[in-house]
């Protein structure tokens, strides 16, 4: 019953006209960038973050969250109709969704994707609401040693579940941590790695790092390939699914929602991992796996439900523990910090309106998406016909205005360009930028908790192993590392990411 009163508070915040408007703007923008290849949620959120200064914190977070789950809806549309994933998390939907479209079933595929997403969005909203209080109460018992170990676990988990070389990913985390501590040390007042540049004494801006590594680098690498997009839209006839299709699809929706919700909570999880895992699961348990890749409705229903569930439950660690688990959540930390909210377990009690309002807005945003998305498909297809040569300068412009307006200095713009250059180098060397962003956001927190833990233990490093919770988390981190070194797991991990 307590849950109901919390949700009532949440809806009273989320349903105010202003917040409805921002949920709408966020989910529409999210759908837009979900449809457009070449710009993802991380770059978009970075771009819009500076424009949210003037807003109420809750409105700002509602809009930014909408971008993330909105992108999951938009991504499926282009996967199904054009065989072109707007987002990586919708890449598997191409396999069967586009086949369905070729067989004249585009309407059914779109409908099941939207309905599955909405169902998953509803379930995961309730889940976020239900899990948050106990988790945050647990987190409030954490001392600095536990927090430090939790961050180690979170960062290791994030790279184990990500793809690419593990060693490089860990190095990227450490590099991120280093970049994160640039600026004035809160304890001693010493300006670290600032090179006498006054702007650097405040630290490097999270917007610059994210926009450079994810936005600019992506545009530059896109420009190097000359591949042309051809838009051949299949005709969409009738958005209804037959009874038989519904009967086949609903168990997949249920499984996708469950799997997606679980994987969303894990460090490194989120929408992309959820959709890939769900596709693999559906294929494995199907009576006739050969139908997959030839238009199996389960191959659309499962992953599309899973990516939406994963997108939403990935807010749980952020909202309850203050630990971001993927690049989008790392930016949400940046957004909260800008509005003077320290992410962590205390947010629920100190800022209940914001907390529950954000959660309720996710459900409201999902409802808007399912209602508005299907009728707007024609418009999205039109937008896709805008050639990239017109699109990318506009993206650059919005990025530049956004980053300039953070503090009205050209320094921020140059800093972003620098990270753009670094991002291109990382792409060439196959270093994933997401772990760097996570480390960057957690750097100062990790140092602070390490310092406090060692202060309390009078410099004795065994404190991390003698406190049971801390030990458990470090063991879990070590276990994850062992898993990945073990050949059997390594093989399945490679296979799982092969399907990209």
């Amino acid at each position: 019953m307590e849950l109901l009163s919390h949700l009532a508070l949440g809806f009273s915040v989320a349903l105010t006209p202003v917040n409805l408007l921002y949920a709408f703007i966020g989910s529409m923008l999210g759908t837009l960038i979900g449809v457009l290849p070449g710009i993802g949620p991380v770059a978009t959120i970075a771009m819009l973050l500076p424009t949210t200064y003037a807003l109420q914190p809750v409105s700002a977070l509602i809009m930014l969250a909408g971008i993330y789950y909105g992108a999951q809806y938009g991504g499926s549309t282009t996967s199904i109709l054009l065989n072109m994933p707007g987002e990586t998390s919708s890449a598997v939907t191409c396999l069967d969704g586009h086949q369905m479209a070729l067989q004249g079933q585009a309407g059914a595929a779109l409908a099941i994707a939207a309905l599955g997403s909405f169902f998953a969005g509803t379930v995961s909203t309730v889940l976020v609401a239900g899990v948050s209080i106990p988790l945050s109460e647990l987190a409030l018992k954490f001392g600095p040693a536990e927090y430090f170990s939790l961050m180690v676990l979170g960062l290791i988990g994030a790279v184990v579940l990500a793809h690419g070389s593990l060693l490089k990913a860990i190095a990227m985390i450490v590099l991120g941590l280093l970049l994160g501590i640039v600026g004035t040390d809160v304890n001693s007042g010493a300006a670290r790695f600032a090179f006498g540049i006054p702007e650097l004494t405040d630290g490097i801006g999270v917007v610059s790092v994210a926009m450079g590594l994810f936005g600019f680098a992506e545009i530059i690498t896109n420009l190097e390939t000359t591949e042309k997009r051809e838009v051949i839209a299949s005709k969409v006839k009738g958005l209804w699914i037959t009874k038989e299709q519904f009967r086949q699809a609903w168990p997949a929706v249920l499984r996708g929602t469950g799997l997606g919700s679980m994987l969303g909570v894990l460090p490194g999880g989120g929408a992309m991992l959820a959709s890939f895992a769900s596709y693999a699961l559906e294929k494995k348990i199907a009576k006739d796996p050969s139908r997959f890749g030839k238009g199996a409705i389960q191959g659309v229903a499962g992953p599309e439900s899973a990516n939406n569930a994963g997108a939403q439950t990935s807010f749980i660690p952020l909202l309850t523990l203050g630990i971001p688990e993927n690049a989008v959540m790392a930016l949400m930390v940046g957004a909260m910090t800008i509005h003077n909210i320290q992410p962590g377990p205390q947010v629920i009690t100190s800022n209940p309106g914001l907390f529950w309002g954000l959660i309720a807005s996710m459900w409201v945003g999902n409802l808007m998406l399912v209602v508005l998305n299907l009728p707007l498909i024609g418009m999205w297809i039109k937008l896709l016909q805008v050639p990239y040569r017109l699109l990318y300068p506009a993206i650059l412009l919005f990025c530049s205005i956004g980053v300039y307006s953070i503090s009205n200095t050209s320094f921020d713009v140059m800093q972003t360009a620098f990270f753009g250059l670094l991002g291109v180098i990382f792409v060439k060397l196959e270093c994933e930028p997401a772990p760097l962003l996570l480390g960057f956001v957690l750097g100062p927190l990790m140092e602070e908790n390490l310092r406090r833990a060692l202060l309390l233990s009078r410099g004795d490093p065994t404190v991390f192993f003698t406190r049971p919770l801390s030990l458990a988390m470090l063991l879990a981190a070590a276990f994850l590392l062992l898993l990945i070194i073990a050949p059997a797991f390594r093989k399945t991990r490679e296979v799982a990411f092969q399907e990209e």
């Binding site: 490089k168 280093l178 412009l397 050209s410 753009g420 180098i425 060439k428 310092r451």
Partner: protein, 150 residues
């Protein structure tokens, strides 16, 4: 003499080692303190050492495991895209949003192999109108619209 079998890893590893060493050297001015009373230099030193170790491991792997060659590097998109952005940041406060926007769009468009000057100018003018409407008037960001306002 071992030879480089995985150039991407080899170079990435060197980059990590270099940054790690830079962190240790530059951070040597900050007081280390002790474990119980960490100074501002303690954590950066830890991270620097860790980065050198991880980077060396990546370099070693680059010598032992085979991998694809380094991809080519084309300067034009990198220089044009980043250059136009930096230019925008440098002049917007003096030249105003309208002129800087048109300049950014036209310049940045030149990075594409399908560059069409007239189309870029038209797009620049339209986006300038949009940018003024949304950012200067709508969101009320502190951006001068015309030159000489600041």
């Amino acid at each position: 003499m071992a030879h480089i079998r995985h150039p991407k890893d080899f170079v990435a590893g060197l980059l990590f080692v270099a940054i790690g060493i830079a962190a240790i050297v530059l951070g040597s001015n900050y007081a280390l303190g002790s474990a119980a009373r960490m100074g501002p230099g303690y954590f950066p030193r830890m991270l620097g050492i860790l980065l050198v170790a991880l980077g060396s491991a990546v370099v070693l792997r680059g010598l032992r495991v085979d991998g694809p060659p380094l991809p080519g590097w084309r300067w034009r998109p990198v220089a044009v895209v980043l250059g136009s952005v930096v230019l925008f940041g440098a002049i917007v406060n003096y030249a105003g949003l309208v002129l800087s926007t048109i300049l950014l769009i036209v310049l940045a468009s030149a990075a594409s192999q399908e560059f069409r000057p007239r189309e870029a100018v038209i797009s620049g003018i339209l986006l300038a109108v949009l940018a003024v409407g949304v950012f200067a008037l709508g969101l009320k960001l502190q951006l001068p619209i015309w030159p000489g306002a600041n």
